[in-house]
């Protein structure tokens, strides 16, 4: 224990030192770049973070909305694809395998441009604008969300499959012996237990999803990144705008990190004698070695 605390302290000092170094070199650069000196307009960063205009707020909500909808779609498709992949019926297995193979094997940005512009311009599929009450979801937002979700499904499929395989086969037998049909066995017994294994990587996936929405830039969806980029490209003030953009993404991913910690602890119910897994504070501040030791006690506690 004393050892890990010491290493924790050392780490902190190193990190602080590194940050000071970065700050110093940045300051140095600002003073003596080769040609003309660059004048940093920090007020632009400041304003974009603390008093964002309507476009940035709009982009923020779009990023949040698209991430959530696409991730939900991804989880849903992932569960279906995982079950299909483990099905006794071979056409299900083949379809699932082709789906996973294609969407994991090609770059997301290619999928986005191919499935949106490709289908649209060749008249194969006219992506519609979706009207929900007074709101309209533009075709590129609709297409982008769908494609992100379908792409995500391919990754979730592997995660869900691993989760299902991690559940003791005795659980399935117990459920069957009580007369539960396949669907009930899955939804009430196997998947809730698989969730415990699925949720940590799922959190990771959602974190990626928040960032991947920026690729909708290719479809001119004015989410967070496209909005900032449009300012940067017209004013050529990249540095200041992109720092603000980073701050917004960090805010989103940090909030998600906290939420994820809570969810994980809830799902640890019935698996450990303690309150559950490490919270976000521990996750964020503790050293790797300590985390490892904790994992081992959790596993051993069964």
């Amino acid at each position: 224990m004393a050892d890990s605390i010491r290493s924790f302290g050392t780490r902190r000092v190193l990190l602080a030192g590194f940050l000071v170094l970065v700050a110093l070199s940045l300051a140095a650069c600002s003073g003596q770049s080769k040609g003309a000196t660059y004048h940093f307009q920090w007020d632009i960063t400041w304003k974009s973070v603390f008093t964002p205009n309507g476009a940035i707020i709009n982009g923020l909500w779009l990023t949040i909305g698209i991430s959530i909808v696409a991730q939900i779609l991804g989880v849903f498709l992932g569960v279906l694809a995982a079950l299909a992949r483990m099905s006794r019926i071979w056409p299900f297995r083949v379809i699932s395998n082709i789906y996973i193979w294609f969407f994991r094997g090609t770059p997301l940005i290619v999928q986005l441009t191919f499935l949106f512009y490709g289908l649209l311009i060749s008249n194969v599929f006219a992506w519609p604008n979706i009207a929900i009450g007074p709101f309209t979801i533009a075709q590129e937002v609709f297409a982008g969300t769908l494609i992100l979700g379908v792409n995500e499904g391919a990754y979730m499929a592997e995660i869900v499959r691993a989760g299902i395989l991690a559940v003791d086969p005795g659980q399935t037998e117990a459920a069957k012996s009580l007369g539960m049909p396949y669907r009930q066995t899955m939804t009430r017994i196997v998947l809730p237990q698989a969730a415990r294994v699925i949720i940590p990587p799922l959190g990771n996936e959602f974190n990626n999803m928040i960032k991947n929405t920026s690729l909708l830039y290719a479809l001119s969806v004015f989410e967070l990144y496209t909005t900032f980029d449009s300012y940067a490209v017209t004013s050529l003030i990249y540095f200041e705008y992109m720092i603000a953009c980073c701050v917004w993404y960090l805010l989103l991913t940090t909030i998600w990190g906290i939420v994820q910690g809570r969810i994980e602890r809830r799902f640890a119910r019935g698996t450990t004698t303690s309150a559950g897994g490490p919270g976000w504070r521990q996750r964020f501040f503790s050293s790797r070695r300590r985390d490892r030791a904790e994992e081992i006690t959790v596993l051993g506690g069964h």
């Binding site: 005795g170 659980q171 007369g179 539960m180 237990q193």
Partner: protein, 276 residues
């Protein structure tokens, strides 16, 4: 460790002894099973009558566990027929030659509702409390009202000596307590038949007694049971019949007194001499 108080009216909790539809509850005829090339069950015939307790003994690898897993179709069979309550289990006969075709999953699930099973490793659902484990199937399989299921669940827990543990998750229970919850879970479905697959083999010695006590009580109250076990004391006390299996064959069967004191087969004698 004191053996907990086991109620003398266990089946009262589920409204008395579930009554099987037929006199012969289990009728296994010429059951054959292969694992790949390994012939694990060879023409096994076993009949279990209403309210009978049959204990199957034999060395490991003799096929006794495989056999009771076939009785609720957790294992497929390649030959023969198994009837429970007069219904052919897991299969239907197709065509003039009466070839065995695996039944629809829904029908198999329905047949399993009448057959309770207790596993060596308990297999309680770890994400549910003791009481939730018990009421899960009555509510979601039988469609029982929540309050009624809770009533039955609580009554069962009380009678297996675990009234105080209803809100506890399985990982906080001892092995013996978990197995008693598992028995209660199976009983809550009011099964016509109970299967026990080495229910005490994974338990610490001091916990075996409490589980056997529940099983003995069930047998005395007239539950129809097949028990795979090495607990000879249990067999002697409550079994109506003991069946000795070895290498996929039924070597001999008989009343426990006769089997333990005067076995007719050499194989039974050597096996019993090793474990008694």
């Amino acid at each position: 460790m004191t053996v907990p108080k086991i109620s003398t009216n266990l089946l009262g909790a589920i409204g008395g002894v579930p009554r099987p539809e037929t006199d012969v509850v289990v009728d296994a005829r010429d059951v054959n099973k292969w694992f790949g090339k390994l012939h694990v069950l060879k023409d096994v015939c076993i009949q279990v009558k209403r309210q009978e307790t049959v204990v199957i003994i034999g060395p490991s690898g003799s096929g006794k566990t495989t056999f009771i897993r076939c009785v609720n179709h957790l294992e497929k069979i390649q030959g023969g027929r198994i009837f429970v309550n007069g219904h052919l289990i897991g299969y239907r006969e197709a065509g003039d030659k009466k070839k065995l075709v695996e039944d629809r999953e829904k029908n198999i699930a329905r047949q399993r509702q009448e057959i309770g099973m207790v596993f060596q490793r308990f297999n309680l659902f770890p994400h549910m409390t003791a009481l939730e484990n018990i009421i899960e199937a009555p509510i979601h399989v039988r469609g029982m009202a929540h309050d009624e299921a809770m009533g039955i669940g609580r009554a069962l827990l009380e009678r297996v000596g675990l009234a105080a543990k209803e809100d506890v998750y399985p990982n906080q229970l001892s092995g013996g307590q978990q197995q008693r919850v598992a028995i209660a879970r199976a009983l809550a479905m009011k099964p016509a038949l109970m299967l026990f697959d080495e229910p005490t083999s994974a338990l610490d010695p001091e916990m075996i007694g409490e589980v056997l006590e529940v099983m003995k009580e069930l047998a005395r109250e007239g539950m129809t049971m097949i028990v795979v076990s090495h607990e000879m004391g249990f067999a002697r006390e409550v079994a109506n019949r003991v069946v000795m299996m070895d290498d996929g064959i039924i070597v001999e069967e008989g009343a426990p007194e006769q089997m333990f004191s005067a076995p007719t087969q050499e194989r039974t004698k050597t096996f019993l001499s090793k474990i008694l």
